[in-house]
């Protein structure tokens, strides 16, 4: 780990007159030595469409806290999960497609489900701001700079709906609502087909042994009953 936040790299890039719009690879910020600078066109796939710099710092730290690098997989960010979430929020789902969005609004009960007037992208934006406000006041720093133990404390509290989020509009279970959505999105980013930007090199599928899109098992179900079925997983792009 290089002790330099991505936000600082971007700010520095801005300071030396390189427009902030120029994409910088997240991996570059994390480990400048590993990933040689690429042409902007190649980097475009790895830069954010939705998140601003502060949000990107938060989401990368959040994703890497949930999916840390270890001997099983690289970190969530390296697997493209933060890019996956960014693309989802920038796209139709993030903007609330296929959601009923008309009022009036009321908090409701947990059994009545999601009742916020916010599309997912708006929810992320508000919630990240609120979590950061909490981290600043309670711990004196942004989420991405907290020690791992403190980060765990924040994530744990968030997952149990115990984090007091000041800036949030009304909504009974708002805190947990954000965590539940973000948690589901992280799992999607780990296990969805790589065409969506996550699950890089099918590392999520390799982790569990899921073979991907090749699925003609009429014979295999007998041949491999009770036995390992070791194949290189294939994704949609491999067959397109």
């Amino acid at each position: 780990m290089v002790d330099i936040a991505r936000r600082d790299v971007l700010t520095m890039a801005g300071a030396v007159g390189v427009g902030a719009a120029i994409p910088v690879s997240p991996a570059l910020a994390e480990a400048p030595g590993k990933d040689p600078p690429q042409a902007p066109a190649a980097n475009a796939a790895r830069s954010y469409q939705f998140f601003n710099l502060d949000e990107a710092a938060f989401i990368e730290a959040f994703v890497d806290h949930l999916i840390p690098a270890d001997d099983l997989t690289p970190s969530g960010t390296e697997l493209g999960i933060s890019i996956y979430i960014d693309r989802q929020l920038a796209g139709a789902w993030g903007k609330g497609a296929r959601m009923y969005q008309l009022g009036p609004w009321a908090a409701g009960t947990p059994q009545q489900g999601y009742q916020l007037p916010l599309a997912p992208a708006d929810l992320y934006r508000c919630a990240i701001r609120a979590v950061e406000a909490h981290c600043a006041s309670a711990h004196g720093g942004s989420f991405d700079r907290l020690q791992p133990a403190l980060r765990q404390q924040v994530v744990q509290a968030l997952s149990e709906g115990r984090l007091p989020l000041q800036e949030i509009p009304a909504g009974a279970s708002f805190d947990k609502t954000f965590f539940d959505m973000a948690y589901a999105n992280v799992m999607e980013g780990l296990f969805a087909d790589p065409i969506y930007g996550g699950n890089k090199d099918k590392r999520g599928w390799k982790l569990v042994g899921f073979p991907g899109v090749m699925a003609a098992h009429a014979e295999n179900i007998e041949r491999f009953r009770g036995k390992p079925y070791p194949v290189e997983p294939l994704g949609i792009a491999d067959l397109s």
């Binding site: 806290h65 949930l66 999916i67 840390p68 270890d70 099983l72 997989t73 789902w93 609330g96 296929r98 959601m99 009923y100 969005q101 008309l102 009036p104 009321a106 009960t109 947990p110 059994q111 009545q112 489900g113 999601y114 009742q115 994530v155 997952s159 948690y183 799992m187 999607e188 296990f191 969805a192 087909d193 065409i195 969506y196 599928w205 982790l207 569990v208 042994g209 899921f210 073979p211 991907g212 899109v213 699925a215 003609a216 098992h217 009429a218 295999n220 179900i221 007998e222 491999f224 009953r225 009770g226 036995k227 390992p228 079925y229 294939l234 994704g235 949609i236 491999d238 067959l239 397109s240």
Partner: protein, 589 residues
């Protein structure tokens, strides 16, 4: 002003399983039939590999299902609460588009048991009247199992069900379900190949003295040509079945069976993108004159006149259209009068997981229906006296697929994230055995559907409102039968046993449970207590017939579509052989 179209003999609202069957049966009878479907057409190209094998798109973002931004329902647990809109899909996933939910269903195809058809009589006789809880609206079905048998048979042969009969003409068959009602003949196709999980479940339940049988499946165990000459392919156990269209044409679905068969008849025409907003009636309200629909492509309104209106819009759509159009009297739970919206039921379902260190299940080799079932605790197949509730459940092992976003398990106590979570996921994904308990649900006074006073859909019409909660009876059922399933799992000797989590009130509309929504336009003997007569004809407007599970007086511990299909063939037969000869009420009140 709506553009008035040429009159048809029949207009069908909705082109899923029931609409497809009706289109085929009534166009075969020579009637001019128009089928209207709010969603898009579907073709093979929509379901081709590799694009169809996209869990995110189909099973998480729910691409093939109803778009709730246009129309949804509002929900509350009890009449005292404010109902709020279901803003995202969750508990159930109604279909949209040609083929309806039949496109992306699993294909688990059961017959209800003979005593399901005479439930109230059976309970009173065996346990006494006082056994029935006060607010439970228990009723006999207005047709018997024996009357439906030929129609079950027709559905099973049309859909090529793979299974093993348990009772042929009263003779119990080895390896089938000994509790089932007598059937005329064997299933059209043999059972699917078992998975390891199926084999373990079979062995253990046999040892425990139960009667396991392969789950009847609309996934073809071999290539099949149905009586209409429609060809279906052999199932590939691809594991992308529930929530997906089938790439191999191996899952019986309306858009590849009854609908193309109906389209061979020149007198049948189908219009996708046609959203029906109202059934029109004569000034005295006694007869329907057709329907009004909006083209969701252009926004234009059309009136389709017809002598016969058949609602096939899934239970929710049927009840919604009846309420919007004033067909029948809305149900009022306070006075217990009115019938439309009455008897809404769901199911009481739980899942039990177990984890085996030394087993490899390859969960991704599965089908929508692969599994083994016991019926020993379903319906009235066991003595309810000691357990003190009414109803039961099918209990089964499920090898439905191993898509990793949704179909993954870790033993209880595993952290939800971090390296420990990852380690457990890597270890247990392939070593998890899943069982389910599919519990029945009885009609209850305060569980019902009506129109919401506040919220509206994209057409400016009131949303339908659902008031629904689990009852004491449901909680007792779930506690007992989840324990039975848990004990079966324990008897298999797992390394870890999953949590025992029976359903409890309050019901939540958030987590997926099943798309087995029933009631709301129930069929019965008495017009003051049911919306439809035994032929699924409206008691109030005799040229309106209403198909689907909305007609069920209660929901059973089985998946509904076998019974839905049988009832549709039964009603089509009544229309052809009785109604057409003498249009009007088939039963005088």
């Amino acid at each position: 002003m709506a553009t008035k179209l040429k009159e048809a003999d029949v207009v069908i609202v909705g082109m899923g399983w029931t609409g497809g069957i009706m289109a085929k049966e009534l166009s075969d009878a020579g009637l001019t039939v128009v089928g209207l479907e709010r969603g898009p057409p579907r073709s093979d190209a929509d379901f081709s590999v590799p694009m169809i094998r996209d869990e995110l798109r189909y099973a998480v973002r729910n691409e093939l299902f109803m778009d709730v931004s246009r129309d949804t329902l509002t929900f509350r647990n009890t009449p005292g609460q404010q109902a709020l809109p279901m803003r995202r899909l969750g508990s159930f996933l109604p279909g949209e588009g040609v083929g309806g939910a039949g496109v992306h269903w699993n294909g688990q195809t059961y017959r209800f048991s003979p005593h399901d058809h005479a439930l109230r009589s059976r309970v009173e006789e065996r346990y006494g009247k006082s056994f029935i809880p006060q607010d439970m609206q228990l009723a006999d079905w207005p047709m018997s199992y024996a009357e439906l048998e030929p129609h079950y048979d027709k559905f099973e042969y049309m859909a090529g069900i793979s299974g093993k009969a348990g009772n042929i003409a009263g003779k119990i068959q080895e390896g089938g379900n000994p509790f089932e009602g007598p059937r005329a003949r064997e299933y059209p196709n043999p059972p699917l190949k078992p998975s390891l999980a199926s084999e373990m479940f079979t062995e253990t339940t046999r040892k425990l003295g139960y009667h396991p049988f392969p789950r009847p499946a609309a996934n073809m165990s071999r290539p099949y040509t149905n009586p209409d000459g429609i060809q279906l392919g052999e199932c590939q156990y691809c594991g992308f079945c529930e929530n997906f269209g089938c790439e191999a044409n191996a899952k019986a679905s309306p858009h590849i069976t009854v609908i193309p068969a109906a389209l061979r008849n020149k007198n049948f025409s189908m219009k996708p993108y046609a959203w029906v907003t109202r059934v029109n009636r004569t000034a005295d309200g006694k007869r329907a004159t057709g329907v009004t629909y909006t083209s969701v492509l252009t926004g234009e309104e059309f009136e389709q006149p017809a002598s016969l209106v058949i609602l096939c819009a899934y239970g929710f759509g049927n009840v919604h259209l009846m309420l919007l159009s004033g067909i029948g009297k809305p149900y009022d739970p306070v006075s217990e009068t009115g019938t439309v919206g009455k008897g809404y039921c769901y199911q009481v379902a739980t899942v039990v997981q177990s984890f085996f260190e030394d087993r490899i299940f390859n969960p991704f080799m599965g089908t929508g229906s692969l599994g083994v079932v016991i019926d020993d605790f379903n319906g009235d197949n066991f003595d309810h006296g000691p357990v003190g509730y009414i109803g039961g459940a099918s209990i089964y092992s499920a090898s439905l697929g191993g898509r990793p976003i949704n179909q993954r398990g870790v033993p209880p106590g595993t952290p939800r994230w971090g390296s420990e979570w990852k380690k457990a996921t890597a270890r247990w994904y392939n070593r998890t055995l899943q069982m389910s308990v599919q519990g029945s649900n009885m009609a209850s006074r305060y569980n019902y559907l009506d129109l919401d006073p506040t919220y509206r859909n994209a057409f400016g019409l009131p949303l339908m409102r659902m008031t629904y909660n689990f009852t004491d009876n449901d909680e007792k059922l779930s506690a007992h039968l989840t324990t039975v399933a848990h004990d079966i799992a324990r008897a298999m000797g797992p390394t870890h046993l999953g949590a025992k989590a029976p359903r409890r009130a309050p019901y939540s509309i958030v987590p997926y449970q099943s798309t087995h929504n029933t009631g709301g336009a129930i069929a019965g003997h008495d017009p003051s207590k049911s919306a439809l007569n035994r032929y699924l004809q409206s008691w109030d407007v005799s040229n309106v017939f209403v198909m689907g599970a909305s007609a069920f007086p209660h929901n059973s511990g089985y998946n509904p579509t076998g019974a839905v299909g049988a009832l549709t063939y039964w009603a089509a037969d009544a229309i052809r052989t009785k109604y057409l000869k003498d249009p009007g009420p088939l039963l005088r009140t």
